[in-house]
């Protein structure tokens, strides 16, 4: 069973993502800020990380950078999920090593699941 780490400070969104992914057959790990997220990622070695950007404490961009410099975590695919929609911000995220950048308000959960499955090579039902 594929493990997915969700890092999101907004509880309703975290819960929605976790519920839908669990229903799709993934096991989920949850973190409410970047620091916790980074620790969980290094301990649990998830198969994929869904990462919010604006969070208290360590934000998503910082966590992404730290993940990418650590050989233990640098190969974990990361999908950025944010409501910041500037193209410049998106480009910044992709350049930092994210697989994909999704604007939360503009995507359905269905779209998130589709991309997660795509990145993990899981057959899309």
């Amino acid at each position: 069973m594929k493990k997915i780490l969700i890092v999101e400070d907004e509880i309703p969104l975290l819960k929605a993502l976790a519920d839908r992914l669990t229903r799709e057959g993934f096991s989920t790990l949850e973190a409410k800020d970047g620091l916790v997220g980074l620790n969980v990622a290094l301990e649990e070695h998830p198969d994929l990380i869904l990462l919010d950007i604006i969070m208290p404490g360590m934000d998503g961009m910082e966590m992404l950078e730290k993940l990418k410099v650590n050989p233990l975590s640098k190969n974990i695919p990361v999908i950025l999920l944010s409501n910041l929609g500037d193209t410049s911000k998106i480009l910044e995220g992709i350049e930092a090593g994210a697989e994909s950048y999704l604007i939360k308000a503009n995507v359905k959960l269905e779209d998130v699941v589709k991309i997660v499955k795509e990145k993990l090579g899981v057959n899309i039902a």
Partner: protein, 735 residues
Amino acid sequence: MLNKLSTLVRFYILTAIIFAVLAVVLIFASNSIIQNSFINRAKVAVSSAITSEAKDLKPADFSLRDSVHAENVFRDFYEKVKTNETIRIKVWDYSGKVIFSDDQSIVGQRFPDNEEFKEALRGEVVTEIGQKVKPENVSEQGYKQLLEVYVPITFADESVPSGVIEAYFKLDDVNVRIKETQTILLIAIASFSIATSVLFFTLFRSVIYKQIERINLQALTLENVSDHVIITNLDGVILYVNKAAEKLTGYLKSEMIGNRPSLWGKRMPKEFYEKMWKVIKTDKKEFEGQITNKRKNGEEYVADARITPVLDKNNNILFFIGLERDITEKKIVETKLLESNKGLEESKEAMVNIMEDLESVKVKLEEEKVKDEAILENIGEGVLAIDSQRKVLFLNKKGEEILAWKALSLIGRVINSLPLEDEQGNLIPLEQRPTYIALKTGKTTTTTTTTYFVRSDKTKFPIGIIVSPIKINGKITGAIAVFRDMTKEKEIDKAKSEFVSLASHQLRTPLTAINWYIEMLQDKDVGVLNDKQKEYFLEIYKGSRRMVDLLNDLLNVSRLETGRLKIEPVPTDLKAFIQEVCKELQPLVLEMGCHLLFKLPEKLPEVNVDQVLLRQVISNLLTNAIQYSSVGKAGQVIVSLAVSPKEYTISVKDNGIGIPKEVQGRIFEKFFRADNAHEIMVDGNGLGLYLVKQIIDAFGGSIRLDSEVGKGSIFYVTISLSGMKAKVGQKGLEK
């Protein structure tokens, strides 16, 4: 040049001839002079030698009949007298008998008729060139020419000579001397003549030649002056006429010279000529007068004439100089002027009246002007006027304040010497400056992008400029620029945009939560919904989506309005790109039951476009076309792409409700929605076309439309063939 040269050459030849003649004369003269001087010297030498030696002789010696005795007496004498030159002597007694000679053959002979002897006998030393008697045993070679010197020997107490001693003096040496002297003389003459020539030439050049030149010039001037010049003798016979005279009278020079001026004159009353002759001939004064003459072709002409007598030292008239100037034309003009003067007098009065009227108009105008100036000066915005050369003519007080420039120091300057910069601090090129565009196109021009004015102290501020061209009779003669400091607006704008940006992000998060949870409910994640529930959740979802779309548009508007939009063109296959955007809209097409058609060219080279921007433009136009054409019927939308030598044109055509003519100019305004659009669809936000226009303006393209209510609309978007230019900015658009 040729003239000068020939004058010089002529002069040189003349001088040479003079010197040659002089040399010949001198040589001939020198010959006899030198000869005479030598002969005289020889004569004196020989005679004094003979006279001094003869002191020892006695009168009786000349009476000796005995030749032996005589031989004894005179042989001794001969030896004393003999020199290299004096080669022979004859001693004559007073009867003409030769009593001694070194030539024995003539001793005893008588020559009483010898002229020289007879003359010598009168007491004079006589000389004779040549030899009448050729002495024997004297070689031809040695004595070519001899001087015979006859010396009378007169003893004291005697009144007549007792005899004559004749000596032959050799002249051959003299001849040699003469030749030598002549050679020296010739060389001297030649040197002298060369030296003199050089001196003379120098002198000639500096003085005479200049004089000649001056005279030539005077003659040339005289010949070519426009006044008619004639010179006559005392009787009025013409000696000289110049070219102008030919022209004036119509007679040839050859016809005039030798004739009298009456040839073309005689048109004036008799008294005129009498008076003239009196003045010039009797009074010897200059005569001046206006004279009417007749040309050869019979035409009359009027001339100012002046005749001057030229006098010598003794006040005698040498000749007369006459000048005439044709004033016929002048006369005609004068007459005409006189005539028109009368008319002028009349019109002058009329003019005075008009002037008085004008004066009062002028006073009124002055008042208007003062009023206008007062308004301009005190208006709340900067006002600047330029001429067609873009030179500043006027700047009002507010303008001075805003630009930190004194009107006085700015007037006359070319306006582009005041720098305008864009947001990145790049100087705005001339052809993009509003004054330039307004003067060139004749259209009112407004700064559309954020523009900064740089003051002379290098501080800058955002400036808003509206330039209106001034047209007089359709010709652009200048422009008026109204401008203001946009700093405050800019600050407010920035705050607004930051607020919108933040608010949008903060608002999105709860909307996301709503959307996702409804999605889970709809997707039966937590059980099956009944139909009513489904229906209600759909409405909630639609409302939430609208809110998201509105937020996205607002975010984009805020980015575009702050002018910080970046443009990042990448090579793009336009055809494929358009198809891709259409594919993304497929759900809407299906939902609305619309027919989407394409008219795309087969193959196109790649164009540099910012895909995010172009996607937004095409997508917004297509969304409108689909939505407004598919209400109550199956709409039809055609997307086309055309290429011209200048640009690419993307057009979106629909058969929808159309846009009323009266609002077509307003549809690109923010939040504006036409009434007919609002009627059929409540949930538009009025930002779509505004965004389209803003984006197109940002990348330098253009948009226009054709539309008719009830029939449909076509929107045309153009992109330059060279594609979009990259622009550095802080923000891209929302996807």
